[in-house]
């Protein structure tokens, strides 16, 4: 046995991995280890993902025919509301930050844990309480307002459990805020020696910008839900026009959160995809600094475009044009990111591993989603397309095609680090490809349908739309398979998978410089950083070398 291997064995004897460090329930439920909390979150959001998926399956099965033959109108309305609420607040928003972010951020920053480990555990409990309350609302009969809770329908006319569901979402908001605060503090205070801002991995930048949006936007959602509660439960006239309230006020408040929320889902995806593409192409990310600035710009302008959800709501024509302008502007940094990922492939050594297939799939789906966003940013065209299936397709491309592909990509990429096991590459590649095809098959027909005028949230519809709905439902079956299939081979790898070495992809980044799975304290010796990220090619300069070269030489 070589001396190096002996040293490894010795170290393992000294400190067990985070998974072996206590195995009873108590050691998991009271843990303050960011890695274990990441796992707790992963289990919870997987549960919600499949719950939301069941609702989606019901919806797509029902829409195969134009008549109401599987569900009643009320059941259908409750099904799409459940699908929306669960998927947005209990899966998409928390997905990457609370699982991969929780697990990886301290590792990438070279620190032992997040700045506030107990707050981190608390945020998971808050998440669970919010989730249980929403589930309870579901068990006692459900909600029929749509995930948007538009007033005055939600406050005065809905006969369903609006208050319970709104409270669930209200509570889960605190979990978001806590996570955001924790990530911001950690990134500011706990970076390893030598890890300057311009040396941060893009995933860490993504977590940081996402956290800013979460901390600044979520309170607005909480307030608007409290106002809904105030009107519904106590009769305070806030949105009721008969008492002098403003029915549009809610939409302004709601989208002030919910548009930035799209970036809460997409910015983390940018981070994940950047890490995977640069590693699997063995090339430093093209234009690192532009990638960072683009994320910051998106996070900032993301707060100024909410009005593009309201072009036909009756807001002023001037507001429409202003919001349209800002919506076109925000397309620019998003496009830059797509170009830079493409540029990263140039002169690379590209390997088509499963994570890479997910990442490239992300780029394709995000491009389509982004381009169709331009259609909706154009006021006169949006007037026709809004509230139709075109919008449904557009946001699924961004939020599901984009964000969920990136989540699956990241899950596979860091799976060896998280579990210490390797999965079957071939089965995973198959899943990634089926997801890409299933997704396009499901949602591309919806663009056409939307253009032809099929309104969203319709349970019964004119028969001329049926062929498109059938196509979409068949695609959804493929997609459902692609989402469920990884459960089997990833689950199998937990028990039978080959043991993972510390750095199976040969990646840069501090998280790969510790064991797989990492010990409780993350690193056996405190890491120090001396160069910029992503030095994959021996003759390629890292960002700070470029900066050095651009500085005037001192005599």
């Amino acid at each position: 046995m070589s001396t190096r291997a002996t040293a490894l064995v010795d170290r393992e004897l000294r400190s067990p991995s985070y998974l072996q460090n206590g195995t009873d329930l108590r050691s998991w439920l009271l843990t303050t280890d960011h890695k274990r909390i990441g796992i707790l979150y992963a289990l919870s959001i997987t549960f919600f993902f499949f719950l939301g998926g069941i609702a989606a399956t019901l919806i797509r099965m029902d829409l195969v025919t134009p008549a109401a033959d599987l569900l009643t109108n009320d059941q259908y309305n409750r099904a799409f509301t459940l699908h929306g609420i669960i998927m947005v607040w209990f899966f998409l928003v928390p997905s990457i930050p609370t699982t991969l972010g929780n697990f990886l951020l301290p590792l990438m920053l070279g620190t032992k844990d997040l700045a506030f480990p107990r707050l981190n555990l608390l945020s998971w409990y808050i998440f669970v309480v919010g989730g249980l309350l929403t589930l309870f609302a579901l068990v006692v009969g459900g909600v029929d307002t749509g995930w948007t809770f538009y007033t005055p329908f939600s406050t005065l006319y809905s006969n369903s459990h609006v208050l319970l569901a709104a409270m669930g979402v209200f509570i889960v908001g605190f979990s978001s805020i806590a996570t955001g605060v924790n990530f911001i503090a950690t990134t500011h205070m706990l970076r390893a020696k030598g890890l300057t801002w311009m040396r941060l991995p893009l995933f860490a930048w993504a977590m940081y910008t996402t956290s800013l949006v979460m901390v600044l936007a979520t309170p607005v959602l909480s307030m608007s839900l409290l106002l809904v509660t105030a009107e519904r439960a106590f009769g305070l006239p806030i949105f009721d026009p008969r008492a002098g309230g403003d029915p549009l006020l809610f939409q302004h408040l709601f989208w002030f959160y919910s548009h930035p929320a799209v970036y809460i889902m997409v910015l983390p995806a940018f981070g994940v995809v950047s890490e995977i593409i640069t590693c699997e192409a063995r090339r430093r990310i093209f234009g690192y600094q532009f990638m960072v600035y683009a994320m910051v710009v998106i996070a900032v302008i993301g707060f100024m475009v909410w009005g593009h959800h309201m072009f036909v709501s009756g807001q002023s024509a001037f507001a429409n044009l202003a919001f349209s302008f800002l919506s076109f502007v925000i397309a620019v940094p998003s496009a830059i990111k797509v170009f830079n990922w493409t540029g990263t492939l140039y002169r690379g050594q590209i390997r088509f591993s499963a994570p890479m297939l997910y990442a490239l799939g992300f780029v394709g789906l995000f491009t389509i989603g982004g381009l169709t966003g331009l259609f909706l940013a154009s006021v006169p065209l949006d007037v026709h397309l809004t509230d139709t299936y075109f919008v449904v397709a557009h946001f699924h491309y961004i939020m599901v095609g984009g964000s969920v592909s990136a989540f699956f990509g990241g899950l596979h990429f860091w799976w060896p680090k998280i579990t210490g096991r390797l999965y079957s590459e071939r089965l995973a590649q198959f899943a990634a490809l089926s997801m890409f095809f299933g997704f396009n098959f499901t949602f591309f027909p919806q663009f056409v349908m939307g253009w032809m005028g099929m309104p969203r949230r319709y349970h019964v519809y004119p028969p001329e739309f049926q062929p498109w709905h059938v196509m979409s439902s068949v695609g959804a079956a493929v997609l459902a398979f692609a989402y469920a299939w990884p459960l089997f081979y990833l689950g199998w790898s937990l028990f039978k998978g080959e043991k993972a070495p510390p750095n199976p992809h040969g990646a840069t980044g501090l998280e790969w410089q510790t064991r797989s799975p990492p010990p409780k304290e993350n690193f056996d010796s405190t890491p120090e950083v001396t160069a910029g990220p992503y030095k994959y090619h021996p003759r390629e300069s890292t960002p700070d070398e470029v900066e050095q070269a651009q500085k005037p030489q001192e005599p």
């Binding site: 532009f290 006169p380 509230d387 309104p455 349970h459």
Partner: protein
């Protein structure tokens, strides 16, 4: 596919084609590059690698950022100028009132003709829709005309169209409004002018909208205060529509549909200067349809001048 049945539709379709074309070009460029690089630079291929020339990193990046910004601004300008050119409603537009409620469309023509979940219009005549809702937010959507406008409670919104092809087209409610949202549909029947004239003379026994309003004005007791010989001092309503009225809070309000609507249902909101806020609310007494009729009456040439 979707018919182009209004003067607006061809414009929208041009914009759509422009964007589809542009998207196709961008998707082609991105996928050719991705597939091209993926094949040429796959691991193990013999393609030349090595350090990127510095100009690539800098100039290419600046170049495509500037190009993207330019395209974005061009698209904004193109779409915005189309929007502003369509914004003005033609002065000779025929006015139709729409009251939405869970889950039906109630339509009132200027001549008093009423219909539910159907709207008959003549071809080639601009139609202005003045809409309000009795309960939640609905949205008036006619795909063949490429128009959509939310219909709000407590507020009037408007949109307009000029139909170009006779036929029957879908009318949808596009804003989710509760249990039977997907059944809140109807048909827009576009007819040649003579047929429309025949149709509108047809079943109507109610008299014009303004005439119905005049009758209501008396029935609801409005004359008691607003009439010439009334004992309570209230402003005369003769010729009031479109006038600028001084308010008791020192400001001015132009008397439009929204102002009249609020003055009937929430009279304490804006009180005319020099008068006491003594008018009772007609909330629950006058329905949204009634308010539409009252407004039509007050807008008519001798509106408000009852004796």
């Amino acid at each position: 596919m979707l018919p182009e049945a209004s003067t607006l539709a061809p414009h929208i379709d041009h914009l759509l084609l422009l964007l589809v074309g542009l998207s196709a070009v961008i998707i082609c460029v991105v996928s050719v590059l991705i597939f091209g690089f993926a094949i040429r630079y796959r691991r193990g291929s013999k393609a030349r690698r090595g350090r990127l020339p510095d100009w690539i990193a800098r100039d290419v990046e600046l170049g495509w950022t500037a190009a993207t910004l330019f395209v974005a601004l061009f698209l904004f300008w193109f779409a915005a100028s189309m929007e502003t050119s369509q914004y003005e409603v033609p002065a000779d537009a025929m006015e139709v009132h729409v009251v939405a409620k869970q889950w039906m469309w109630k339509i009132e023509h200027p001549n008093g003709q009423r219909e539910i979940n159907a709207l008959h219009v003549p071809v080639g005549v601009p139609v202005r829709l003045v809409m309000t809702s009795q309960d939640v937010i609905h949205s008036f959507f006619v795909p063949a005309f490429r128009i959509k406008q939310d219909v709000l409670p407590g507020r009037y919104t408007e949109t307009w169209f000029n139909a170009t092809k006779p036929g029957t087209y879908h009318l949808f409610c596009a804003e989710y409004c509760g249990t039977d949202h997907s059944k809140m549909t109807g048909g827009i029947v576009v007819m040649p002018k003579q047929d429309y004239a025949r149709w509108s003379r047809g079943v109507n026994t109610h008299g014009t909208l303004a005439g119905q309003g005049a009758r209501l004005f008396r029935q609801l007791g409005c004359t008691g205060c607003h009439g010439e010989s009334a004992r309570v001092r209230a402003p005369s309503l003769a010729g009031i529509f479109g006038r600028k009225q001084p308010m008791s809070d020192g400001g001015f309000k132009t008397v439009d549909e929204a102002y009249l609507h609020d003055s009937i249902l929430r009279p304490q909101k804006d009180v005319v200067a020099g008068y006491k806020p003594v008018m009772p609310s007609y909330q629950g007494i006058a329905s949204e349809d009634d308010v539409v009729r009252l407004i039509a009456y007050l807008k008519s040439p001798n509106g408000g001048a009852v004796e």
